[in-house]
């Protein structure tokens, strides 16, 4: 039992230290030194880190590069947003003092439906009136979608670049649907103006009970995902993932149903991403289809790559560094920040294919272990040197 | 014709070829014998330039090639039949052979000699290289090397996975080619019987060093067997 928790979940001594360092940073240093605005920004970034962690599992270890991970993230976010929007609509209906509102909106209907001449709540919105059901759907919808995609693709042995491009196409389909079915989804505006959850004013920036609490919940959930990831990776399933990434046929001829393993890890990744999406909505108070488009999905892969695609903890740092870098550079050098960011991507892939985790590892082997320990050997990324002589 | 001096090759920090020197005259066939993992392939690859060498020299016909890229070495007269054949699997048999024509003037025409030597390739010339069986691919690989009209032909375990009769054919073909073109051949092998048919001289490689040399006439089965067994 002790070994289960200590060795597997926490990754032994070095893994534990890595977790503690991260926890200290996120739970102590950030909250003390950052103002609410910056802390909230971190919360927002962290809600993307869920996807990066998910990508470590399915891409770094499973070799499944999904360029549509934002879809799952987005579905999670939309589920949460749907619930919050209905609550917001009820609030407005309750508070409705002005004649204007009464005269011009349908009571209890989300505002954007009203703008789109929808007069009655569509049937598939009904489940989102109920919070537990919403939470369940937030995980279920993306996971079931991932399951369908997984079964369909992995059984047919679609892999590598093909899988990547197909998931990208799916991402596009999703974007088109979300953007154009405006009456149902808020279209390109997204679902905005979300403030309370079951009466809890989570957008409140002043008090510990508002945005800061959301931040802490986000951090705790990150921890849960990392531990879950470690448990998976240290199990036999984790080893099989690495094995099938490198030599898929051998795994199949050892009697394993490769497709079901891939589907499993893809579903786990989808569920984790969805959690991130839900928390994102809590951090920012709205959901936007811009985040379900192709570009953010690629960013998510980049977070993962920068952090080190084989490192769960690295994924968190990768997300924070790139996102913060993006914000910082765009504030400081609005003209030049894209050069910096683009340059970093090229540099990381060409010179540091193992990402931050790899850099730390090679700089200080001991620290590197702390940083990237997942109970699994470091991956088989070929070295970056030039081909041939 | 081929003159190798103090060749050193390493993977990262671990040396695999350590100070190998030998020469092979015009029209001579030499064999490098050795067990698995002793460095035969590494030696061959560094001769053709797929692997960089960290010291030493490789001269073909008096021209120093050890600092040149692969393709320049081919122009300098080397040709290579790799272990595992390395056929271009999506190219047709014909196109596979044609890749070897880089060094010659007419880059379209495949000489009839080649097909005479390997008739099966003619029958299969439109088929994709990847769909050939192992033995067929081996013949294709040799053909691909020969069409470049090399001065020195390097063969890495050409009998691996080949049926007995074709091993005999290959031995015959090599001897013919040698006669025909006055070709220098370096062949790495584990199978003694084949080696004895083609080689004029034998070397034994162990842990990256040439530790033994014999003329064919002087070879004693026991000595070689000693080196070749574990």
């Amino acid at each position: 039992m002790k070994s289960l928790i200590y060795e597997k979940a926490l990754g032994g001594r070095s893994g534990l230290i890595g977790m503690l360092v991260l926890a200290a940073l996120l739970l102590i240093i950030f909250p003390i030194f950052l103002d609410t605005f910056r802390l909230n920004l971190m919360g927002r970034y962290l809600s993307l880190a869920f996807v990066a962690i998910a990508l470590v599992l399915c891409w770094g270890y499973g070799g499944i590069l999904s360029l549509g991970q934002g879809v799952f993230w987005g579905l999670g976010g939309y589920c949460m947003a749907a619930f919050l929007k209905l609550e917001a609509a009820r609030n407005i209906a309750n508070e409705a003092g002005t004649d204007q509102i009464n005269a011009l909106t349908t009571v209890g209907l989300p505002d954007f439906m009203d703008w789109n001449q929808i007069t009655e709540l569509p049937w598939f919105w009904y489940p989102f009136k109920n919070f537990p059901l919403t939470l369940a759907l937030m995980f279920l919808i993306p996971t079931v979608l991932a399951y369908i995609i997984g079964v369909a693709m992995f059984k047919r042995r679609v892999s590598g670049v093909y899988f990547a491009i197909i998931t990208q196409a799916l991402c596009w389909i999703m974007e088109l649907l979300f953007v154009t079915r405006q009456g149902w989804t808020g279209g390109i505006n997204g679902i905005t103006d979300l403030r309370t959850l079951l009466g809890w004013d989570f957008m409140n920036g002043e008090h510990w009970t508002g945005q800061r609490l959301v931040y802490f919940i986000t951090v705790i959930m990150i921890g849960v995902c990392i531990i879950l990831g470690r448990l998976i990776l240290t199990s036999k399933l984790g080893k099989l993932l690495v094995a099938l990434r490198d030599t898929e046929d051998r795994v199949r001829f050892s009697g394993y149903d490769v497709a079901s393993f891939k589907t499993f890890i893809f579903c786990i990744a989808a569920a984790m991403s969805a959690l991130g999406g839900g928390l994102f909505v809590m951090n920012v108070g709205f959901m936007s289809p811009k985040l379900v488009t192709i570009e953010p999905s690629i960013y998510m892969v980049i977070f993962c790559a920068v952090g080190g695609r084989m490192s769960l903890i690295g994924a968190v740092y990768g997300t924070l560094v790139v996102s913060y870098g993006r914000t910082y550079f765009s504030e400081q050098f609005p003209e030049l920040w894209l050069f910096a960011l683009g340059g970093v991507f090229i540099l990381v892939t060409v010179i540091f294919p193992k990402g931050l985790a790899g850099i730390v590892e090679s700089a200080t082997p001991w620290l590197g272990k702390v940083f990237s320990k997942t109970g699994e050997q470091q991956g088989s990324q070929p070295p970056a040197e030039a081909v041939g002589t | 014709m081929l003159n190798v001096r103090e060749l050193n090759v390493a993977y990262g920090s671990s040396p695999v070829i350590r100070g190998v020197s030998f020469n092979a005259g015009k029209g001579e066939t030499i064999a490098i014998m050795g067990r698995n993992g002793m460095g035969k392939t590494t030696l061959m690859k560094s001769l053709i330039g797929s692997l960089g060498n960290s010291g030493g020299s490789i001269e073909v016909d008096g021209v120093e090639l050890s600092k040149k890229e692969s393709y320049q070495r081919v122009k300098g007269g080397l040709a290579f039949v790799p272990q595992g054949r390395q056929i271009f699997s999506t190219l047709s048999v014909e196109d596979n052979i044609r890749t070897g024509l880089e060094t010659v003037k007419d880059r379209r025409k495949i000489s009839d000699n080649i097909y005479a030597l390997f008739p099966v390739l003619y029958d299969m010339r439109r088929r994709k290289g990847g769909n050939l069986s192992g033995g067929q691919q081996q013949q294709l690989a040799i053909a691909r090397a020969l069409v470049s009209q090399p001065k020195v032909l390097l063969l890495d375990e050409p009998t691996e996975g080949i049926q007995p009769s074709i091993i005999k054919d290959i031995a015959k073909a090599l001897n013919e080619i040698k006669q025909m073109y006055d070709l220098t051949i370096v062949v790495s092998e584990q199978v003694l019987s084949f080696t004895m048919e083609v080689a004029d001289r034998l070397f034994v490689i162990e842990s990256g060093k040439l530790i033994h040399e014999d003329k064919r006439e002087d070879v004693q089965e026991e000595t070689i067997a000693k080196y070749l067994s574990v």
Partner: protein
């Protein structure tokens, strides 16, 4: 070293009771537009116009004796980024006001933040209405101000009876077309809509749409295509043989409310010559205010630059804010919000504008321009009076 000439009259602790970034000599404002991404095309003009206005105000001595300083943020055509930057401007930078946004989507994303943090936004774009926040001054037209008068013109002056409504697929074109459809079907005698189509922002393949238009032969092609898509749309129309001349032969016209001088710069005047647009402002407006404005704009941003409707509306923002602050004698948001009603700007390039007493939109005129080969408009009609803004129009629901 700048000293504030009116500091005695307006001491900082009086004009700023809520901790905004106002000092004895400066007031900091935010500018929040996309300078990267797909919307940069349209928003660049707004950035430039606001900068020009601020420079001119500073040259005149600033606001309440304080020089305006700018913190500019890039919304990067990404609504979540807009929200993030809006919050930064309000919470971290505590700016006095923000000039910004272009698309309705970006406005919707920042609106809750402006309301929550009690900030002020001057929003320059023609938009769909259905909104009247005390934290936003809408310096562009809402739907009724742009649409109704234009349709009436098409019907009465050009005899249009059948209309084909076309738009980019988001809330502004959709809402505008909704209002247009209701107006056509309810208020214009014997008129009807023969088609309604939407394409995603950035769409570039209009072959099928053009064929549908050809088939339906509407008297009026009513276009609300936004941003970069415009270029493909007009070029392909042209290539398919639909030009103003060919339309005129059959008694048809093309009327748009989304194509300004900015877009024509990209399309090329030759491709659009003879089509009509309904706006409140054209660069070619012949009045003294506008001549000065155009000259100043070109001096600051180059003689090649053009000015579209939204660009002009953006120019109004800083001036209206200055007037309101001076009227209120305070930078406080609540004071500004309370004082906004009735604030006028007589030097407006479009002629004259005034903030509505209750709904924070502007009274302004509507005009029809005919596109010329040189990328400018010839103004051929103008509403006689200022049109009252009515963001929640009765009878159009």
């Amino acid at each position: 070293e700048w000293t504030n000439p009116v500091l005695d009259k307006y001491p900082t602790d009086k004009v700023n009771t809520t901790g905004l970034m106002v000092t004895d000599t400066t007031v900091t404002v935010g500018q929040l537009h996309s300078v990267t991404g797909t919307m940069a095309i349209s928003e660049t003009g707004s950035v430039e116009a606001e900068r020009l206005a601020i420079k001119q105000i500073n040259d005149m001595g600033g606001v309440l004796g304080r020089k305006i300083e700018i913190i500019q943020e890039d919304g990067a055509s990404d609504w979540p980024t807009f929200a993030e930057k809006a919050r930064k401007l309000l919470v971290s930078d505590k700016v006095g006001t923000v000039f910004g946004c272009w698309t309705s989507a970006s406005r919707k994303a920042v609106l809750p933040i402006f309301e929550k943090e009690n900030g002020m936004l001057y929003y320059p774009t023609f938009y769909e209405g259905l909104e009247a926040s005390k934290n936003v001054i809408y310096t562009g037209q809402e739907a009724t101000q742009q649409i109704l008068w234009g349709l009436d013109w098409a019907h009465e002056e050009k005899g249009a009876k059948t209309f084909f409504l076309i738009g980019s697929d988001y809330i502004w074109p959709r809402t505008s077309n909704k209002i247009a459809r209701i107006h056509i079907e309810r208020f214009l005698k014997g008129c009807k809509v023969v088609g309604e189509e939407y394409y995603p922002l950035g769409h570039t393949q209009f072959g099928s749409l053009i064929n549908k238009v050809k088939l339906k032969k509407p008297d009026c092609i009513y276009s609300i295509i936004v941003g970069g898509s415009n270029v493909a749309w007009y070029k392909q129309l042209n290539a398919a043989g639909i030009t103003a001349d060919s339309l005129a032969k059959r008694g048809q016209i093309l009327l748009t409310i989304s194509t300004t001088e900015d877009e024509i710069l990209g399309i090329g005047g030759a491709n659009v010559e003879g089509f009509y647009a309904c706006m409140k402002y054209f660069q070619s407006l012949d009045n003294e205010n506008n001549k000065k404005f155009v000259a100043a704009f070109k001096e600051m941003w180059g003689s090649d630059s053009v000015i579209g409707d939204v660009t002009q509306a953006a120019y109004l923002g800083p001036w209206l804010w200055k007037a309101t602050v001076e009227k209120a004698g305070s930078f406080d948001i609540d004071a500004i919000s309370a004082a906004s009603g009735g604030v006028e700007f007589k030097e407006a390039p479009e002629g004259y504008v005034r903030i509505h007493d209750t709904n924070n939109h502007l009274w302004s005129k509507a005009r029809i321009g005919k596109m010329l080969a040189n990328g400018q408009f010839e103004v051929i009609a103008e509403s006689p009076e200022l049109i009252e803004p009515n963001p929640f129009p009765e009878g159009y629901k």
